[in-house]
Assembly symmetry: C2
Homo-oligomer: 220 residues x 2
DNA sequence: CAATGTGAAGACCTTCACAGCC
DNA sequence: GGCTGTGAAGGTCTTCACATTG
């Protein structure tokens, strides 16, 4: 497979490091807005809440963009991270589920600001189909595969009740989606190895917090 | 500090294991609804998407609840996990930010189902104060500390724009909140060691997915 | 002198394999 | 025979410390 793109080093980046690279990118963009041209590992690492050594090690997985004695060019590093993360251009997203969570995700401005555009919204409830949600007409789930033949989105969001999640995942994969963000509190499985799924269980986040509250011995 | 509670072993549980314990609990509750009385490590592990060895190692951090040759009592194990995670009783939650995300979180039934009750909603916008959101009257942020003297919530959710997040965090801590779930795309820092913060950056989840899409060489 | 990039060391987590129990 | 619990082995990630560079 002829790899698209430029001189990026195809070294594998460890999972935890990928998540932190996305964090660094966020703060680099903030620095750029502030007009900062150069930043040191210790400064940016402090903002991101990691050690300077961690930061430099993470960046060592990419081509060298820092200059010893000087630091990192803010614009340079931002572009490198965008390239590594595949964020050079906007991405289309299919959103499935027009309930309260789906509606919130649809109106959340943060996605579009960072290049993820909700291209279509789907639901299985005929009462919701045809309604408008943040400028989007809600479509029926049966039309997902057909409509994505022209949209060609590679990202999908599952925001449906747990019973429906697996079916939605399969439709998304069949429609050509390769990255799935699943908000349903149940695991969905896909057989294809070129499809990646991430689970976000909001209640589970609370439950983890609760452990640390309990473990610290401080009860209310 | 005299530790409250019962015969739970005070061994420290590794971070990744805590998250998985919460996952196991989710599937145990589902099994219980299905009327299953006993389950083996391999069965439950398969549902949760981990190896059987991983599952047993995670449980080895707690008191032994499995019986060799038989498996785990579903009800037993659920109760043990609830106790370890501190989920034996409901928890009150303060929600700050009545924008689209805040509204969605307020109406999301999953929180209450799993014992996290939104006790009050706050916003800084006087136009929103007094409005109702899923049965809750929106309060002004200035009243947060005072109102929590009677509510005594220990959990807080930050669903405000990034500029306001740090201020909200400080108010929550001052009000006695010990666990903070932060949806603002910026790190908030708290000085107290007995307060734990978790960050959920929804866009960042997409960015991580994008890396794996790009890394697999499959471009659309 | 200031700051990066990196091998080596160390900490942490996962997987293996098997003794022991039902 | 089936299954748990766990020490030991293996792998991954983080931290350290320093050679190197501008």
């Amino acid at each position: 497979m002829p790899s698209a793109g430029s001189a990026k080093p195809a070294k594998r980046v460890p999972g935890p490091a990928v998540a932190r690279l996305a964090t660094y990118l966020k703060y680099l963009r903030a620095l750029e807005r502030e007009g900062v041209a150069t930043v040191s590992s210790s400064t940016l690492a402090a903002r991101a809440g990691v050690s300077a050594a961690q930061f430099r090690k993470d960046l060592s997985h990419l081509a060298g963009v820092g200059r010893p004695g000087v630091g990192y060019g803010v614009d340079d590093l931002r572009r490198t991270l965008e390239e590594v993360l595949g964020l050079g251009r906007p991405h289309q997203v299919l959103l499935v589920g027009a309930g309260s969570l789906g509606a919130a995700l649809c109106t959340y401005p943060g996605f579009a600001e960072r290049g993820f555009l909700i291209a279509a919204v789907f639901d299985s409830n005929r009462l919701k189909v045809g309604q408008r949600l943040a400028g989007q007409e809600v479509r029926h789930i049966e039309d997902l595969i057909r409509l994505n033949r022209s949209i060609r989105a590679r990202f999908g969001v599952i925001a449906v009740p747990p019973e429906a999640a697996q079916d939605v995942a399969e439709r998304l994969v069949a429609a050509g989606v390769r990255c799935i963000l699943n908000f349903a509190p149940v695991r969905v499985s896909v057989d294809r190895t070129d499809v990646v799924v991430r689970h976000v269980d909001l209640t589970q986040e609370f439950e983890v917090l609760s452990y640390y509250l309990t473990a610290s011995g401080a009860e209310g």
